[in-house]
Symmetry: C2
Subunit: 325 residues, 2 copies
């Protein structure tokens, strides 16, 4: 299967590495909006200017879009979906229906197949919410994120005057996890579910108290959470906080029996050393399914919910039945 | 959707209760090989003689087979698959390919659709093995079962002379779980993964030492495990060991990056108060998908690997995208 990477940041580099772990996949090239001459691939892949991709119709089975959800993907995915099978990791949950509609229309117009919102949340976590709710209808599910770096929250801190650098960890609160696992189906406030740990490098002359207040009172991002702020040196930031770990938990508990007398717990968790590299792995597995479903003549837009699991694996259905069922 | 239950033991009663949790499902009747007049449904469902099911073609969208894998299902599923959409929980892993072939041929001959080996293992655990291996190809997965009652092992103990009743719990060994979670991808022997805890009611005059030896040296069942044998009274058996809890863990760890420098862990676990009731819930969710896929004209035999998750849910694809993705 011939894949192209469009956008070459952390996620694009993750996809490049993931493709090398899948012998049935081949990287045709990396398309970048920077000067291609200034972009060097660590695997020796060819690098092209983004706007030359239209010349490559027919040479690419699927394009993996590695842009951001705020501004890149809402424009890019529908634009490319007319000419290519495209897969993205669009993760602004509230805007998924609109993004889906735009990509679906473009893909149908071009008789192509696309898949949006693929990664771990949305993605693997979404799948686990769906499976668990279908199996235990009389129940409730909870999603916890972390411990892991939130890029959006880190960026929000960096925009505060006097801040040189920042890293924010989202941390699930153990007592909340235990309450959920007990099957009690508790009502939990935002504050009860997650803590926010912030590590900040301040300018030498900055007012640290003012920075701390600005963080802790920031609406949407921090005001509804218990937040800790720790000032550290640039060197400590580099040594202790340069990785991008993440993960989390999807837990559903529910009852069965004629009188709800039996309780069950389904728990799915991820512990990831590298958020972008894991997201990339999910994208590549679903790109395989996308290619197969497109070859069967399907068109329009898909999500992870529409993909039969067997299409994700390099093994045949017969092999899967005899080795994994 | 109109469902029938065929076989009315623990699993059949679990399906009866599960159907009541799904407003889009209706129980047409229970088919039993016992005298129907002697079988009373706790929900007031109609009970019919098993061999009258052929008179109900056209009135049933799917038959949920609730027989055993040793002798019932290998014969029953192919027999019924010609005339009905049938779903079973066939769980003899080694014989799945042969069972699949028989059911597939029968279903195709009758232009019907069937689904086999549905439950939690095979079933939900199989799905998690597949998803995890597709996402992290450079890794290794491990399945642990328990703590839970193994019916097969309990039955094996009951066949020993001098034993009145027995209950066997399969118990995952915490050190093995931790070694797997660490990402070290350890080689684990059978003995290192699970303990077997046996509770036995012996006849008053029985040779307890002989029973203990017979259990601990039984090939395949116990000889390869560290096994504990505890003799208890009939009353204690009834009070402490009448439930059928089970569960377990599917854990895959793997590495990503150009040099395998990042480690990831995917963990799925179940903690079930009632093994048959949870299995029943999985069967009912997949029966929904079976009905939908049959209505789209598919024929032959499926497994859980072939079912797009969206088909399991009573919600529309649009609702799923806006609420669960």
């Amino acid at each position: 299967m011939k894949l192209a990477i469009y956008g070459y940041g952390n996620l694009g580099r993750g996809v490049e590495a993931a493709i090398r772990q899948n012998p049935d996949m081949e990287l045709v090239g990396i398309f970048t909006r920077r000067d291609p001459a200034a972009v060097v691939s660590k695997t020796g892949a060819k690098v092209f200017a983004a706007d030359t991709i239209s010349e490559c119709k027919g040479e690419i089975d699927a394009v993996i879009l590695c842009g951001g959800s705020a501004t890149d993907l809402p424009e890019l995915t529908p634009k490319l979906a007319k000419d290519f099978c495209v897969i993205d990791s669009f993760d602004t949950h509230a805007n998924i229906p609109a993004h889906f509609a735009a990509v679906d229309a473009a893909a149908k117009a071009g008789r192509k197949l696309s898949l949006i919102s693929c990664g771990w949340d949305p993605g693997m976590f979404s799948l686990n919410r769906l499976y668990a709710s279908a199996v235990l209808p009389n129940g409730r599910d909870y999603t916890f994120w972390g411990r892991g770096v939130s890029q959006g929250h880190s960026d929000a801190i960096r925009r505060i005057p006097g801040v040189l650098d920042a890293r924010q960890y989202t941390v699930p609160i153990p007592e909340a996890l235990e309450a959920v696992r007990s099957g009690a189906q508790p009502e939990l406030t935002t504050r009860q579910k997650h803590l926010r740990e912030c590590y900040v490098v301040a300018k030498p002359d900055a007012d640290r108290a003012a920075i701390e207040t600005a963080i802790k009172t920031m609406p949407n991002y921090f005001a509804d959470y218990d937040t800790t702020v720790t000032f550290i040196s640039e060197q400590e930031m580099k040594e202790q906080h340069s990785a991008l770990p993440h993960g989390g938990f999807v837990i559903r508990t529910g009852t069965t029996g004629l009188h709800g007398e039996h309780t069950h717990r389904i728990e799915y968790s991820l512990a990831l050393d590298s958020n972008p590299e894991f997201t990339a792995c999910v994208l590549v597995a679903f790109a395989r399914a996308l290619g197969r479903m497109a070859a069967r003549g399907q068109t329009g837009c898909l999500t992870v919910f529409d993909v039969a699991p067997a299409d994700l694996s390099p093994l045949s259905r017969e092999q899967l039945r005899s080795t994994m069922l």
